[in-house]
Amino acid sequence: MIKKTRPHITQNEPLLFEISSPGKKGYQLPELDVPAVDATKALGAGNVREQIEGFPEVSEVEVIRHYTRLSTWNYAIDLGLYPLGSCTMKYNPRINETVARTEGLAWAHPYQPEELSQGAMEITAVLEDMLAEITGMDAVTLQPAAGAHGEMTGIFLMRALLQSQGNPRKTLLIPDSAHGTNPATATMAGYAVQNIKSNDRGFVDLDVLAKYVTEDVAGLMITNPSTIGVFEENITKITDLLHSKGALVYMDGANMNALVGMARPGDFGIDVMHLNLHKTFSTPHGGGGPGAGPVAVKKALEPFLPTPRLRRSQENRWSWDYDRPQTIGRVRAFYGNFGVLVRALAYIMAHGGDGLRRATMDAVLNANYLRKLLEPYFDLPYNAPSMHECVFSDTRQVKQGARTGDMAKRLIDYGFHPYTVSFPLIVPGALMIEPTETEGKRELDLFADALISIAKEIEDDVEHVLKAPHLTRTSRVDETAAARKPIVRWKPSAEA
């Protein structure tokens, strides 16, 4: 029984280009208070464009209706549970949106005089300190724009340290449960990838690992808790092993929501790691970004951090230090996704140290509660204790003809965003469920009910599940057709 949704009318809406008509206006500029300039004269005729072919012309009311209508076609955290495993889709406090728009912050130009940027620099410095405290690391750069960007930065840092010791080495070891960004990053850093098979409990196999750790190995990229949501029981042995061979350990911090306030990577031997502020620290995903991927390092790696670095004078004034001879260089212009950093700091301030710990505890409680409720109905391929997420396999349902992707689509009818489908790769047909701490018992119970009900539907009427979703304005979308002959921009129908 579907308890959580009822169908309701939603407005159709054409593309912006299809409601455009010449001469409609959504803007007005102030009257020009200087003489107009003849563009052809100023720029040369060849440099001046014709009108922008096909560009929309709509009025203000059409703009707001267009996007408001479109918005009603989306699911969102603000509407309900969004249990995408590995994505940590938690509540995005609105106060953070407000403070990020504080005038002196939102309108600060990155090149305005340092004397007139002290507030922004202070925020940056405070956040660096707090992230160092949370991770147990020695220094933090806030420059990377997202997790993958942080990975690149972190691996470059490792490489720079090894290089400074005379040999950057050749290979990065990456467990087969890792996220795709890990191997992709290795390539960008000029490293070969050696996959490490997980053992049958989902952990890195120490013996297997030991075989691969040679003098050619630059390091290990590990995710802890791993992508199946378990804490690597041998983590200190693993880091010791790598260190004993002069290699370093990078931690993908995507799953820090399981650890904040409870355990610190710096304390279990991690050399460098990134955080996803858009996961653990609640900055909004916004349909795909922006994020921020700060990188935290141990002392030995600090000299290599991207420039510029913050420096505090004796008079307690901040300045940017560009004179860092060993730096790997910038990974982006300016100082990072500052607006995202503001939101993350506001989040940390709201929780405080104790609140962060309690958030972690609730996140882990929620995942284990769901695991407990769902275990009778779904196959749990790895039964090591779960942290912030739990991963089931569709093996039982596949026997009746429905895969994880089908159940995911049917969940939509039940009023939920699906879990992460088919990742991590080590789980056949994975259902990767991460509720986060910002879900109450009621929403979790409804979710478990829904999945259990779907499991029953599969026994009774698998076809119904295979054709889901049934209650959305857009039924199952043909992704194959989209990729076969890509249409990636609108064209007027005459042209088409």
Binding site: V48, I52, P93, A263, H285, G288, P290, R357, L365, V477
Partner: protein, 452 residues
């Protein structure tokens, strides 16, 4: 804690289901040596009111109520109210990457519109749905060119934003992708085609990277650069930092790849980010594009629908063979740009660009311009940068960017920008101060005089 939607009794019920005494039990399997056995050294949680006050206080420590003539990659344009109205809707703000197309058509449709408008603006065939920013779009574009051409070298003009060039070098350093600069013409501030030709002739060049309007604000001759690049089998990458210029300037159609920054499209300066980069290119290179792409398709009922497509380029499918490691991008910021473009539209974007042109040209009158040639809303003057900026600050005006920092040979030069936000009174004030301060030579003479 207000973000935790559970009462103690609900926690108790859940623990009972789990057969546990306390939540701590769920952490008991962590090896003892990994556990943090003290509270985090972070102050107790604060109320909304205190948080608002904290950030206000920090904001007040930054420049407040100054007029500004800074550009240099970050521009001071008006942000229509519609933009925040729309991106603040929870349905856009708090959704994830639109993997589940059936409940993400809102986001997917806006991205499709974004891609279309990016193509219309740049004259390219296809565009991705955002890179981190312009500075990281440039190296990604260069990497694309490497994949497309099978060559390795990258030549980048010194008139490309200096920080973008730094980022390009960082990205390139371990990818067997040597990067070399080529120069600009001293009189015009535009790319030195002779230097480019000399360097490109050495062969193996995958990409030539230029920017227009370039870092000095000068409009580059894209066609000639393209011809030169193509003659030598390289791709031309055209970068832009001032998207508003595309309202008036001929689009860089002759480029193979366009890599730019959309900050000018209603994205607040925000001390350097978040912004949104894009890459647009020719149809034939689509499978080498990094980042998200949305495509049109149909649902089972035949309704038009959109979905993420060509995922086989991406890290989650291709892993170490992906076009890039990018995953999270700048979707919401790209939506800001999309709304901005919707509000201004065809006529508005042009009128906006014309106002920028007019303001900058008004400001440039009677100034000692370092370069001669067409410029958009930025230009370089000869002055005593520090003295001028100090003088301007007295009038609550933040001046331009002293160029010596990035170009030793341009010590005594300043990059100045005027957008539609610059008021005539401020423009006049700037001129007055610039007059008063004069150029280094004049100032030196003045000092001489004073000493004599």
């Amino acid at each position: 804690m207000r973000y935790l939607p559970k009462s103690e009794s609900e926690r108790r019920e859940m623990l009972d289901v789990l057969g546990l005494d306390s939540i701590e039990d769920l952490f008991s399997h962590l090896p003892e040596e990994t556990k943090l056995n003290r509270p985090l050294n972070i102050a107790p949680g604060k109320s909304e009111y205190e948080i608002v006050e904290y950030f206000r206080a920090r904001g007040n420590e930054n420049a407040m109520n100054y007029a500004s003539f800074l550009g240099a990659g970050v521009y001071n344009h008006y942000r229509p109210v519609m933009v925040d109205t729309i991106v603040s809707r929870g349905e856009f703000l708090t959704s994830y990457t639109p993997y589940q197309a059936e409940i993400s058509q809102g986001t997917l449709t806006t991205i499709f519109e974004f891609q279309t408008m990016m193509c219309q603006l740049t004259g390219m065939d296809v565009a991705n749905a955002s890179m981190y920013d312009g500075s990281s779009a440039v190296p990604e574009a260069a990497m694309m060119a490497v994949r497309v051409t099978g060559r390795n070298r990258v030549l980048v003009s010194r008139t490309v934003h200096p920080e973008y060039r730094e980022v390009l070098r960082t990205y390139a350093q371990h990818q067997g992708m040597p990067v070399a600069d080529f120069g600009y013409v001293d009189g015009t501030g535009a790319v030195d085609l002779a230097d480019l030709e000399a360097q490109i002739s050495a062969g193996d060049v995958a990409a030539v990277v230029i920017q227009t309007p370039n870092f000095f604000g000068m409009v580059e001759d894209v066609k000639t650069a393209a011809d030169l690049a193509h003659k030598h089998g390289a791709l031309l990458v055209v970068a832009f930092t001032e998207a508003v210029s595309l309202g008036l300037l001929a689009p860089p159609r002759e480029a193979d790849i366009v890599a730019g920054e959309l900050q000018s499209f209603a994205i607040s300066p925000s001390y350097g980010g978040p912004y949104a980069g894009i890459i647009a290119t020719k149809e034939k290179y689509i499978r080498q594009l990094p980042g998200r792409i949305v495509g049109e398709t149909k649902d089972t009922h035949g309704n038009r629908a959109f979905c993420l497509t060509l995922a086989t380029r991406e890290q989650h499918i291709r892993r170490e063979k992906a076009t890039s490691n990018i995953c999270t991008n700048q979707a919401l910021i790209a939506l800001m740009a999309t709304v901005f473009m919707s509000v201004y539209g065809k006529e508005g974007l042009r009128e906006l660009a014309e106002q920028n042109l007019a303001k900058a040209h008004y400001l440039s009158e009677d100034m000692d311009l370092r370069f001669r040639g067409p410029f958009f809303n930025e230009f370089v003057i000869r002055t005593e940068p520090e003295a001028l900026n100090a003088e301007l600050l007295k009038h609550n005006i933040i001046g331009g960017l002293p160029l010596g920092r990035f170009y030793p040979e341009l010590e005594g030069c300043m990059l100045v920008c005027a957008t539609e936000m610059a008021k005539r009174a401020h423009l006049d004030q700037f001129k007055k101060c610039a007059d008063a301060v004069g150029q280094p030579a004049m100032a030196a003479a003045r000092n001489e005089g004073a000493r004599a």
